[in-house]
Subunit: 350 residues, 2 copies
Amino acid sequence: MSVPPAGFEVLPVDGIGEVRPGDDLAALITTAAPWLVDGDILVVTSKIVSKAEGQLVDVPLEEPAREAAREAVLRAETSRVVARRGATQIVQTHHGFVLASAGIDASNVEPTRLVLLPKDPDASARWLRDELRERFGLHVAVIVTDTMGRPWRMGLTDVAIGAAGIDALTDYRGVLDVHGNELQLTQMAVVDELAAAADLVKGKTGQVPVAVVRGLPIRPDGHGQGAAPLIRGADADLFSLGTAEAVAKGLRTAAAIRDTPPLTFPELPAPVAAAERAERLLLVWAPAGDLRRAMEAGMEVQRIRAGLAADGVASEWLEADQVDLSGVDIPEGGMPLGVLAVGRGSLPSL
Amino acid sequence: MSVPPAGFEVLPVDGIGEVRPGDDLAALITTAAPWLVDGDILVVTSKIVSKAEGQLVDVPLEEPAREAAREAVLRAETSRVVARRGATQIVQTHHGFVLASAGIDASNVEPTRLVLLPKDPDASARWLRDELRERFGLHVAVIVTDTMGRPWRMGLTDVAIGAAGIDALTDYRGVLDVHGNELQLTQMAVVDELAAAADLVKGKTGQVPVAVVRGLPIRPDGHGQGAAPLIRGADADLFSLGTAEAVAKGLRTAAAIRDTPPLTFPELPAPVAAAERAERLLLVWAPAGDLRRAMEAGMEVQRIRAGLAADGVASEWLEADQVDLSGVDIPEGGMPLGVLAVGRGSLPSL
């Protein structure tokens, strides 16, 4: 059996223990890993960065106060809601990352606290890298990671949310393969692959929040641009919204198609025969003989129904002669055209 | 400097060279890596698996025949189009993976050929694992990888599309952290993280299509369920469609909201004054005095406009008195209500 060629190693950093606000991460890491050498890549779970930086929020232990507090924290960390289903909220954070619950985590922390992401993970990575160089004479790269779900595939993977001393992307644009073809792929997310590799020794129960990758190149100098180049803006993203949210946006767009003035219809005060179980009943009418207003009423009804469908509310159109309108006030000179029963019927499916 | 604790290594397999249909992958790999040992995880780029299995398609060198052939191959590999923008098509393959261009690749192959994904990458992984055990006495795990883009983040990463002898997901459900909290995350996509780690030594120019991960656990026996558990069905996916496709679906849904019978409107044969530059002009009318039909016409116009918007076609409503209808045949007994100018105006934006 011959010797394999040089590759790289991924080494766990054991014994860091619980990290508390104000703790000196550089000292904790170098004490736990006195074997660090120049050129190592430190891959640090964002949770211990957040804890050291005091990015913690106290929350009540009991429901419903706990959930309300969590919701408030989530809103504060969110720049844009990307998708929702049940209790799951996938949002874009102020950093620009798209993460379930904005990366807010209740694990590996006292039950009365939530851990937020670091305020500026690239700055955290730069700070730690500088500390290690200035105080410990170590020239390393630093990656700050979080755990992320992804569309289309089950299971989570670790990704980079901050970096210093290593470039986030490897650029293959213009590179030729051995056949002389220009490579179709463009950029590999190297720091995400490093984050994923490091997770394989870190695990998720909190005992190993740091791993070291040894044997891969780092920047010879300078912090580089951090993890920011990994952020794909919503405009450049084919998946900037959840499917349900985008379908709703399409319905709202349909409700906004108009070149005629808006009309409002009076609400019937009480259920009328043949229209039970509706949440609301709108009386649709037009002035007698006014074909144009009748047509505009039809347009408006259709817009209202699209808007209701966007909110997941079904509606049903009831012809004037299907509904018992006796006792209903019809505006003077008006002819009833029908009744829109809100909350009845079923949504169209495609 | 003390000694680091045991982690794992990622080792490149150099010297495999060009793989051709019918090549014996097990022999190629063991010859290039005589240093393989029991417990190693072989991470194999799908391209060499495809080449050995003859998953190649001949395509013309010259456009437009080349692009037409590529389109035909893509259609054959696609079970569902997820998103499109310009030349980019993200599709779900027959395997269930969501990949740009169905994973079809024109790099690292002769310019006259395209490489498809292996027909059944889990079966390929099992086959290779069995060969290595039966013929070479090696008890290893095998992961077959492809390179994949993802929403929200720039850059590509390698992921697993086939596996044998290792479980795709690590299940943390019910596991407690040191604080006694149940972990919020559920399952880590271990084989994707291994694929990502291996890519860091494989690179993309084709010279290193295999890497070995040494020092992490594999299944003691059995192939396991392969990479199939990584596939998230469209029903369970908050991002089963591209945003633009889902918005269009919402508009089509709006166009399908109806409880009244469909109406069709006659097309005006030629441009009329004040409605130039329209692609088509529909004359919207109702029988004189028929308020109900006028209202239904309004509903139908609104549906037509939503359907047009779903296809990215704007429309504009022109009142009957805005348009010069002299010389236009109005159906007998009909009153013109207006003209729908298809392809004029602008789409509503939200």
